[in-house]
């Protein structure tokens, strides 16, 4: 199966760049191309990068149809308050999903689609399972959960219509040194809010482990959803203690104050992160090994520990004022 053409949408983001870097090292991958509104975060050797905005529908379609990929890896999704405000993020994600997956459906060589999803798809409503498996019902209760559910639905419909396999990677909150993560930003604040009444557990995944899982899904032709979650769990209070942050107990209306204060400090808290802090978010990762052949290297605890070890951004003033 060597010489496969692989197309990566969202190749400019940290996760997309990591995926492209790993795909470049795969011997089964032939030509490699990708699109994004922003340039890749690292130097890519074999990947043809096309800078296209998600609303430039015609350009996206012509680029993908001309490339005629065997495998489409769609990681071009915008998590709310990661790189865009929630409304803008939902709009960009929807535009990209429609254009990219729709264009891929027109490609005669297409065999397989891999989409990025999230464990927010299960929802945390009353009676929601503590650690849902992939077969658990999907009842999203936050905007990000509904967005990834829509991506999965779109991909499944396209897959059924054109007769290709579709694999969805339901990622836990992705945390890495350069990944724009609202949860990661919040945990790195000097004071970390946590639910005083429940302080529920949540799990995360490191960016490199998430990228390895995506590459494995493309390689194996994954044809079903799979949870990609690091082992173990942690609560916001425990995380703040590990990072020597000041834990701030919250309950009821003060959460609105905390969200406003966090927004002013540059770490806005979207609704799915509030839900994580109030209701927890875990998922069963037992299917990773049989379906993908990989397991996460980093546990949730080690990912959080590394989160606090990253150096802070040091702002250097310009030697000569621009104006």
């Amino acid at each position: 199966m060597s010489g496969r053409r692989v197309f990566v949408s969202g190749v400019g983001g940290e996760l997309g760049t990591l995926v492209a870097t790993m795909l470049e090292a795969e011997d089964w991958v032939g030509d490699l191309a990708g699109i994004d509104a922003d340039p890749p975060r690292r130097r890519l050797v074999r990947t043809d990068y096309h800078r296209i905005h998600p609303d430039d529908h015609d350009h996206i379609v012509s680029t993908i149809v001309d490339f005629d990929p065997h495998v489409l890896v769609h990681v071009g999704v915008w998590e709310p308050n990661a790189r865009a405000a929630p409304r803008q993020a939902a709009l960009l994600t929807d535009l990209a999903a429609t254009s990219v997956i729709g264009a891929a459906a027109e490609c005669p060589s297409l065999e397989h689609i891999v989409v990025r999803s999230g464990i927010e798809i299960y929802g945390r409503g009353p009676g929601a399972l503590t650690r849902p498996t992939e077969s658990a019902p999907t009842r999203p209760t936050c905007e990000w959960g509904r967005t990834v559910a829509e991506i999965e639905r779109t991909a499944e419909q396209v897959g059924a219509r054109v007769g290709v396999t579709v694999g969805a990677l339901r990622l836990a909150p992705v945390i890495g040194p350069h990944v724009p993560s609202p949860l990661g930003r919040l945990l790195r604040l000097p004071a970390v809010p946590f639910s005083a009444l429940t302080d529920p557990p949540f799990a995360v995944i490191e960016d490199a482990d998430a990228a390895r899982a995506i590459v494995a899904a493309a390689r194996t032709g994954l044809d079903q959803p799979v949870n990609v979650v690091a082992s173990g769990a942690i609560t916001a209070l425990q995380a703040s203690r590990r990072g020597n942050r000041v834990p701030v107990p919250m309950s009821g209306p003060p959460w609105a104050v905390a969200r406003a204060a966090s927004y002013l400090l540059g770490a806005p808290i979207p609704d799915h992160v509030v839900e994580t802090l109030q209701r927890g978010r875990l998922a069963n990762n037992a299917a990773m090994r049989p379906l993908l052949g990989v397991v996460p290297d980093a546990t949730t605890r080690s990912v959080i520990d590394r989160l606090y070890r990253w150096p802070t951004v040091i702002r250097q003033p310009a030697r000569e004022p621009a104006a």
């Binding site: 009353p126 009676g127 929601a128 399972l129 503590t130 650690r131 849902p132 498996t133 077969s135 658990a136 009444l197 429940t198 302080d199 529920p200 557990p201 799990a203 082992s231 173990g232 769990a233 942690i234 609560t235 425990q238 203690r241 590990r242 927890g280 875990l282 069963n284 037992a286 949730t300 605890r301």
Partner: protein
């Protein structure tokens, strides 16, 4: 905690139980040990090892529990432990802590509310929702899970066993161990006796398997209770013709 008491029913299936344990020992890669659990974090299911250890220590102040038959439990694989229950006795928590102490493994128990601080606290102790999918997930992950029959007031009566929860064990292909819990509210002594795994006489392919297995488990718990007899208080209360509420 952890004294081994061998009763006739356990001896009868001892060989089968040992074989099961040996087979289970060869399955699975690793098992979490209480003594190896790291502090300062929670596990995959939200159980807090530090808090659980503290609660077990507090339980020792109130109860002196003898556990029997725990050598029959699989060493690595998951298992469902079904106990008898009395109203307000919190037998599932008592049994989960006692079995955990005896086996040096974290033990989950079924029956936590899904909201508020009580549910969150129970989750930190290892409680699961009373949902078959939740229990099946835990069993498939190699966890020991304690559930109870519905509570009854009378002596050695055993309440109905929820067949949908037993179905979780059937789905996860794990054994169900009938277990008798005997305690008295006015003494420290308590007994947790784990029997040999319940088996069906006839193989069933459909939902009859869980229905019949639930009935079988109920019968087996009743037999274990008969074998155990009553725990005496050493007071004239023992002369009363009915059990003290909360006790066997």
């Amino acid at each position: 905690m952890g004294r081994v008491v061998r009763l006739p029913l356990a001896r009868q299936a001892g060989a089968a139980g040992d074989a099961l344990a040996r087979t289970a020992a060869s399955i699975g890669s690793s098992v979490t040990r209480l003594t190896e659990e790291p502090g300062g974090v929670v596990d995959d299911w939200g159980r807090d090892p530090d808090l659980a250890r503290l609660m077990v220590a507090l339980t020792h102040l109130r109860w002196s529990v003898a556990v029997g038959g725990d050598q029959q439990l699989p060493r690595r694989k998951g298992a469902l432990i079904c106990i008898n229950a009395r109203p307000f006795a919190q037998s599932t928590v008592l049994a989960a802590f006692a079995v955990s102490d005896a086996t040096d493994r974290p033990v989950r128990y079924v029956g936590r509310p899904d909201n508020g601080p009580v549910g969150a606290f129970a989750q930190r102790l290892g409680a699961l929702l009373a949902d078959p999918d939740e229990i099946a997930g835990a069993l498939a992950a190699g966890e020991l899970v304690v559930m109870s029959a519905s509570a009854t007031n009378g002596g050695r009566d055993v309440g109905a066993v929820d067949h949908s929860l037993i179905g979780a064990a059937v789905a996860a292909r794990t054994s169900v161990f009938p277990t008798a819990v005997v305690s008295r509210p006015m003494t420290r002594t308590a007994r947790v006796e784990i029997g040999a795994p319940s088996r069906l006489r006839n193989k069933r392919r459909g939902p009859l398997a869980e229905l019949e297995l639930a009935d079988r488990v109920r019968t087996d718990i009743g037999r274990l209770l008969d074998e155990l007899g009553d725990i005496g208080t050493g007071t004239p209360l023992d002369w009363l013709p009915f059990g003290v509420p909360g006790g066997n």
